[in-house]
């Protein structure tokens, strides 16, 4: 009886573990395509708005998107068409006075994939 049970258990185990699911996950790309901008700092000097940032690697980078979000949630974006840029300056940006802005930045590659968003920096317009 024990031998018979052992034989059945062995056959069962062989069948279960011998038939693995061969479906594979798709190729994971999102962690490796673009680096995350760091050390983001926004400055307002009179009417001149500028942002600086750092990139550990500019591989696959085609440009950058600078995002300004005010307290109402309205978002304004600017595209920087230079993969080596670490600064964006805009003298004609219409910023509302007495408003708090959150500045974020991310890299973009040549097919339009947005990399990880940077940590936010804040800007208060007097």
């Amino acid at each position: 009886m024990m031998k018979r049970l052992l034989l059945l258990a062995t056959a069962l185990a062989l069948m279960v573990f011998g038939c693995s699911n061969d479906t594979k996950l798709p190729a994971k790309y999102h962690d490796d395509v673009l680096d995350q901008p760091t050390a983001v700092e926004a400055l307002l000097d009179g009417s001149d708005f500028s942002v600086t940032w750092q990139m550990t690697s500019t591989a696959n980078v085609d440009g950058y998107v600078v995002s300004l979000t005010d307290t109402s949630g309205a978002q304004d974006t600017r595209f920087v068409d230079d993969s080596t840029a670490t600064t964006y300056t805009d003298a004609g940006l219409q910023l509302q006075s007495a408003t708090f802005y959150i500045i974020r930045l991310w890299a973009v590659d040549d097919v339009g994939f947005f990399g990880p968003t940077s940590e936010p920096d804040t800007l208060v317009v007097p």
Binding site: L12, V16, P26, K28, Y29, L34, F113, F114, T117
Partner: protein, 182 residues
Amino acid sequence: MWRLQRIIVAAGMVLMLMATGATAQGAGFQLKQDQVSPGQARLLSVLYPGLGQLAAGHRQRGTAMIVGHTVFLVAWLSSNSDFGTHEDQFDLESAGYSSLREGGSFENAREAWRRVSDRKDDMDQAHTTRVTCAALTAVLYGYNLVDVFLLGGVEPPQDRRMSLRPRKIGEAPGLALVARWR
């Protein structure tokens, strides 16, 4: 898938009816004990596990095999259908993740990847369940064949000391308690 399950269950019921000894004939209910040969009983067991044993008079073993095989078969068909659903969801999420490569964002891709990974885990679990059910079904069917071809599972049962036997009492069907002394 459910249509296939219904067909299999219906076929099983027909085979069980073929294997039973009691038949209704004419105006009155008549008890009839058909004696099946070992060859016929083996054929029945090849068609559906337990039928041959049941027809040969091994009621407990035959019933246990029929019930066990039916349960495993239904569980296998259900888990197979469940796996198909998880596979469809996985394919959908994978396509969604891949499409974000062009025009998507890192945050959306990361969230899509988490969903793809979850669907893969669900699919792997469903696969293990269906393979286990299929293996149990196959093992029970294999044991059924070993039983009828090698272990004498369709030989007439030895008379027990005490047993219940169908008997006609007058014109009505009934049961008789039979005791034997040696």
